[in-house]
Amino acid sequence: MPELTRLQELIYELEVREVMTPDPVTVTPDTSMAEFREILREHRISGAPVMEGDTLVGIISIEDLIKTLAEGQMNVTVGERMRRSPITVPEHKTLIQAVVSFQDHGFGRFPVVDHRGKLVGIITQGDIVKGLLKRLEVEYHEEEVRQYRASHVFEDISSDRTCITLHYHVNAQDFDRAGEASSRIKRVLNRLGAPPQIVRRLAIAAYEAEMNIIIHAHTTGEMVAEIMPDRVTLRADDAGPGIADIEQAMQPGFSTASEWVRELGFGAGMGLVNIKRCADEMTLESPPGGGTHLSVVIRIDPPWFSNNHNGSNQQRSSAG
């Protein structure tokens, strides 16, 4: 049972201060047992540390109250009935030490103290159980969020061909926001749970393509990412001056970028080379006066979700 293992781990991981009730309700030795009964009722608690100023002098519980009730002596004070010099638990100890203390001493609660011995909280076995359950719930929820991935999206959508399409506007010369579209594409792919190498290749190709639009196009360009179970396609289109000689542009080191672009760390003539290196397929078109159109395909093999396309159809027809 993996849950049990995780629970055992948590007992060694979580610290007392993480599950204790901080700033507990306290009483003084002068408090009468009748008042103590009211305090328990009002706060719905089962015991309280006894404080004399800043000093912890004892602990009193509902068991002490019941005994006092049975004896019919409700006028006595907490000071007369409390357990003196109580055993404390340091706040930075792990839960396992608190568990051992409960086992060894059989008490229902322990005052929790900081390194100077000052009272900071109170811990019961109920606090430990609640703290563990809460942490397990949080971890379960995080796991659930992590697993909400493209495969599930693709699984949920019944179609012959499912595709998530992302559109991003890229403004030429907008160096302040350069890389933002690629950053967003990368984040989406990560959220969808794409394999890290696929994310990395697409991010680099997208970033170089985005920089090309920003550096060379004179107008707004667009990047479109199409995410499918077996491939991601990236298109980058602009209506800029285009590329005079594509073959030359593909040569490593060839660049037409201006000096100030180079000062930004770009325009080294490696952009298209990098894109090609990241791509499984790459096409680059630049008809005279027709802008520049780049298309990059990165295949995902094995697909994120193979039970799609025709496979899905077959399964459905056989099931129906």
Partner: protein
């Protein structure tokens, strides 16, 4: 090697809000041309650079670079620091030149990112 060791070897100063000293550094890339970095930097590497503009952070983000070290006492402008904070990428300043930094890290046992293995 841990990021903490790199900072010690380079007598570096963390200039971003935070840097996890336990990050594992696998290899090093040193360049001022961002396309070069994108071409050969591996995930898990650190980048040594003299370039201070926000594109350095973007490049690191795309290439899964875990920390950026600036040479010769350069302090990047606030846009760069802010973007790095947003992306959770630590920035480190050192007084050393690129050559000196590379030499110190090599001596400490780190190696260049493997150009032959490239992006894929």
């Amino acid at each position: 090697m841990k990021l903490a060791d790199v900072i010690e070897v380079l007598e570096g100063k963390v200039i971003s809000q935070e840097a996890d000293p336990n990050l594992e550094v696998t290899c090093v890339s040193a360049a001022d041309l961002m396309s070069d970095v994108l071409a050969f930097a591996e995930g898990g590497s650190i980048l040594l650079t003299g370039l201070c503009n926000p594109q350095v952070v973007r490049t690191a983000e795309m290439a899964d670079i875990i920390a950026i070290v600036f040479v010769r006492g350069k302090i990047p402008p606030s846009e760069t620091v802010e973007l790095a904070a947003k992306k959770g990428i630590p920035l480190i300043a050192t007084k050393y030149t690129m050559f000196e930094m590379a030499g110190r890290l090599y001596e400490a046992g780190l190696r260049s990112c493997d150009i032959s293995c490239r992006i894929t």
